[in-house]
């Protein structure tokens, strides 16, 4: 049975009418037309669908949307300042050209933002641990690591 749920996304409340057990990812992509979170595996193991949930990087592909009421959800879109200015991590990804196909980039940026929230100057070992949940098939991980080091330096 569909329900009206109010979600707090990128600083704004949004009321959506959905099946309460719908995974958050599909509500973000289809109801709210956000492109950031991507479907990758549906098993919470690749990271493509990550969002910031109360500041923590979490997969969105399984968690029921109903359980998201009252939580603060931030997607890749929400990182960009309303005036268009990029978040330091987004900017560092552009500067380091840290993508090939870019399909995993959403989760990489989200996980990197969460990492830098808890560790302002992570070393390589800490970056690897912080990014371990995110898969990339193009082999862009080394560039992402450079982007994270750059963002840490510049923010």
């Amino acid at each position: 049975m569909e329900k009206d749920l109010t979600l707090h996304i990128n600083g704004q409340p949004h009321t959506v009418r959905v099946e309460p057990d719908t995974p958050l990812l599909y509500v973000l992509r289809n109801q709210l037309e956000l492109n950031g979170p991507k479907y990758g595996c549906g098993h919470e193991v690749c990271g493509a669908c990550m969002v910031l949930l109360d500041g923590v990087a979490m997969p969105s592909c399984r968690v029921p949307v109903e359980s998201m009421e009252g939580r603060k959800i931030m997607t890749l879109e929400g990182l960009t300042h309303p005036n268009g200015e990029l978040h330091p991590v987004q900017r560092a990804f552009v500067q380091e050209q840290a993508a090939q196909c870019g399909y995993c980039l959403n989760g990489m940026v989200i996980a990197a933002v969460a990492l830098l929230e808890t560790n302002k100057q992570p070393d390589d070992a800490a970056i690897r641990v912080g990014m371990e949940r995110n898969l990339c098939r193009c082999g862009s991980q080394t560039r992402v690591m450079k982007a994270i080091r750059r963002a840490a330096k510049e923010s």
Binding site: H14, R29, Y39, C41, V45
Partner: protein
């Protein structure tokens, strides 16, 4: 926030604008270009100009003075859009922002076959270079006529032609053409811009699409949201050859279900909402009955098994005599190598959107070849190819023939059965893992003899392989769904055997040489995976070269160099030697090297790896990798570096972790847990040096690192542990002890 309700009144303008930066607009007024003739013209035109030589097939001047360049190739994350913009802006002296690159679309862009084999720079970008040079010449001639001057008296920059020495005699490209387009054909003798004057070519020009990605703009086919779009999933059989014996449609009731498509064994569900489609997929499995099938050869040692299959054999090379190898002695060496089935493993499962409306089928697809796919779809659906319109939209990186074409066929079948609303067909993770066509398992056997100076005098090599291309190529039997229809199309036998012996000949001077290839048809579906057979062949050859260098008691790079006659090959190896000189491996660590020239005619690449081996557990960590690459004339420096860095990381993952497994029923590598790939903790630091060769032909760089990386890693393991790994992937048990 919008409801996705169908609104047929929505205007075309709104329709286009609602899709953001994705270029998806079709020209609804019929096709712009006739199909390119399949017959190459005579002459010396480069690349795809040989099949399409009209200037206006490659570029057009827009009203605002910018230039739109058409390529039949697809952006796969390799950055081809940027490379093509660079060569066009260069020849036409435009700012990069004044060039728009329009990707593959039937009826709109030239037919350039597939975006594959590292051929996009060599074929598409070079065609654009010549077409842009021809356009420049024509624009200068038009202005010269207008002003009664000679072209030499004019200059051209930023989309304008001006009379030298004046400030008021200036016309934009658009003014010069006055509503017309460029005409005529590209003359092979057209004057190209001198390379000394290049502003963009050879530089590390940043890709503009990465900013679109970080801004979460719609970039991928997965991001398309067409008005009234519905969601579909395919219910796969439990095995390749299982048939649908019954589907209880009457009792199959799920929320939002709009249509169940049953066509032979092809079974799909269509719903309003995406999550409903996923629930319908699970529910439909409960209502379907499938036939039993003959078992797959579960539990066999594939390295032995594939030699027992019926074979089609051919000689690849036979030079001198190799009978000296028949009597093994202290100077001969023999070894056998194996590479398992491996998958493309795209991070985003394949996706397509299809709409059948007013007798025309539109498909938005991340295929690597819109024209060959269109022709295969036309045959599968018994539709006139002119009634099928394909627009290429980037997807997740594919690294060869993954599920892209298959999902487009799935979407097309459902759209035909459920017309007038766009159908978004999204493969699930399991569809991609268990149904994509894999890179074939291969066995390689090598024998060689050293002469008294330690040089290789005789070399014999044989390989066993399945096909390395079953791309649609106009043949519906190569589309997964077509095999399951009520009137099925059989998959063609054999495919492209040549891919299996790519790089099977060592790129070294060896007087007596014999190379044979044996093709089998194995248990799993196969096709083109990045570098085709070169990965396995270079792994084997360059491992064997390492074994021989040990036997000859030579430094492994020196040993390769002493067998090389091509100075560009020697240059990449010498540069690599210089780079790794300061590296001193610690206890339990080792350095390995390898070299190959891709296809033996294209890019040169030498790779080194430093690994750490835990002798007790057999665990291997790749610490660092280095590559030196010569891809001829550099178009985009960072493009080559990015492709090579990524190629090394991906190939190291194949080598250390990856193997598609199956049981009696079907593939059971169905997710990232059952088919693990590199994670951050596995990824080495990488360093790439490019040797630019501005006066040589530009070569594609996307596949050059795959083979040498595999060999460099196993050679490093040998140096670290004394264990020679000849069977991939590297297993801890083979390294431990």
């Amino acid at each position: 926030m919008k409801e996705s309700a169908y609104n047929p009144q929505q205007s075309r303008r709104q329709f286009i604008s609602s899709l953001g930066c994705l270029t998806i607009g079709f020209s609804m007024t019929g096709t712009r270009w006739a199909d390119a003739s399949a017959t190459p013209l005579q002459g010396t035109l480069p690349g795809s100009l040989a099949v399409e030589d009209r200037i206006d097939a490659w570029l057009e001047v827009l009203e605002d003075g910018r230039v739109r360049v058409f390529t039949g190739k697809m952006e796969l994350g390799q950055g081809i859009r940027t490379a093509i913009a660079q060569v066009a802006a260069e020849e036409l002296d435009l700012e990069l922002a004044q060039v728009e690159v329009y990707l593959a679309e039937t009826g709109r862009t030239p037919n350039e076959g597939y975006t594959a084999g590292s051929g996009s720079i060599e074929r598409s970008a070079m065609s654009v270079r010549y077409a842009a040079a021809a356009a420049r010449q024509q624009l200068l001639e038009l202005a010269a006529q207008r002003w009664g001057k000679k072209p030499e008296q004019l200059s051209l920059s930023n989309g304008k032609v001006s009379l030298k020495g004046t400030t008021d005699q200036v016309l934009s490209f658009a003014q010069l053409l006055n509503g017309k387009q460029l005409e005529g054909e590209v003359n092979p003798s057209v004057k190209l811009k001198p390379k000394s004057e290049y502003r963009y070519v050879g530089k590390a020009i940043p890709r503009t699409d990465i900013e679109q990605m970080v801004r979460a703009e719609p970039v991928y086919v997965q991001d398309l949201r067409l008005p009234g779009m519905v969601h579909a999933r395919v219910v796969r059989p439990p095995a390749y050859r299982a048939r649908l014996e019954g589907f209880d449609e009457k009792s199959f009731k799920v929320p939002g279900l709009l249509k169940t498509v049953v066509n032979g064994t092809f079974l799909a569900v269509v719903t309003e909402q995406e999550y409903q489609a996923m629930q319908a997929l699970e529910a439909a499995r409960e209502h379907a009955r499938w036939s039993a099938t003959p078992p797959l050869p579960e539990g066999q040692d594939l390295e032995t098994y594939i030699k027992t299959l019926p074979l089609k054999s051919q000689s690849v090379k036979n030079q001198g005599t190799t009978s000296a190898l028949d009597q093994p002695d202290a100077r001969t060496l023999k070894a056998s190598y194996f590479k398992p089935y491996q998958m493309h493993g795209s991070i985003g499962p394949s996706c397509a959107v299809a709409l059948y409306q007013a007798g025309t089928l539109h498909v938005w697809t991340h295929t690597q070849g819109v024209y060959p796919l269109r022709d295969a779809l036309a045959k599968m659906l018994s539709l006139d190819p002119e009634k099928i319109h394909l627009k290429g939209v980037p997807g997740s990186g594919c690294y060869g023939h993954n599920g892209a074409d298959d999902v487009a066929a799935d979407a097309a079948l459902v759209a035909m059965a459920y017309p007038d609303r766009p159908v978004r067909m999204q493969w699930m993770r399991e569809d991609e893992h268990a149904w994509e066509p894999y890179g074939s398992a291969m066995r390689m056997e090598a024998e060689a003899r050293l002469d008294e100076t330690g040089k290789i005098s005789h070399w014999r090599y044989a390989l066993w392989t399945d096909s390395h291309s079953t791309r649609p190529g106009g043949n519906p039997g190569n589309l997964l769904a077509a095999r399951y229809l009520a009137q099925p199309f059989a998959p063609p036998s054999g495919g492209y055997a040549g891919g299996g012996f790519r790089n099977s000949e060592p790129y070294y001077a060896i007087p007596n040489l014999k190379i044979d290839a044996h093709a089998f048809e194995g248990p799993l579906r196969v096709s083109a995976l990045r570098s085709l057979g070169a990965y396995a062949n270079v792994f084997a050859i360059e491992s064997f070269m390492d074994e021989l260098s040990v036997k000859a008691n030579k430094d492994p790079l020196d040993f390769r160099i002493m067998h090389s006659t091509d100075e560009r090959a020697i240059a990449v190896m010498q540069k690599l030697k210089e780079m790794i000189q300061p590296e001193k491996p610690g206890p339990g660590e080792g350095m390995g090297v390898a070299f190959s020239r891709y296809k033996n005619t294209a890019t040169y690449c030498a790779v080194a790896a430093k690994v750490a081996v835990n002798k007790a557990s057999g665990e291997v960590q790749v610490l660092r990798m280095w590559a030196v690459i010569d891809a001829g004339e550099v178009i985009n420096l960072d493009g080559i570096i990015n492709q090579t860095e990524g190629g090394m990381v991906q190939s190291a993952s194949w080598t250390l972790k990856e193997e598609v497994l199956f049981d009696k029923q079907h593939v059971n590598s169905r997710d990232w847990t059952s088919y693990p790939i590199f994670r951050y903790s596995d990824v080495p630091l990488v360093e790439v040096v490019v040797i630019p060769r501005p006066n040589e032909e530009p070569l594609g760089a996307g596949e050059a690192a795959q083979g040498p990386t595999a060999a460099a890693v196993v050679n490093a393991i040998y140096r670290a542990s004394g264990k020679r790994i000849r069977h991939l992937p590297v297993r801890a048990a083979a390294v431990a002890g």
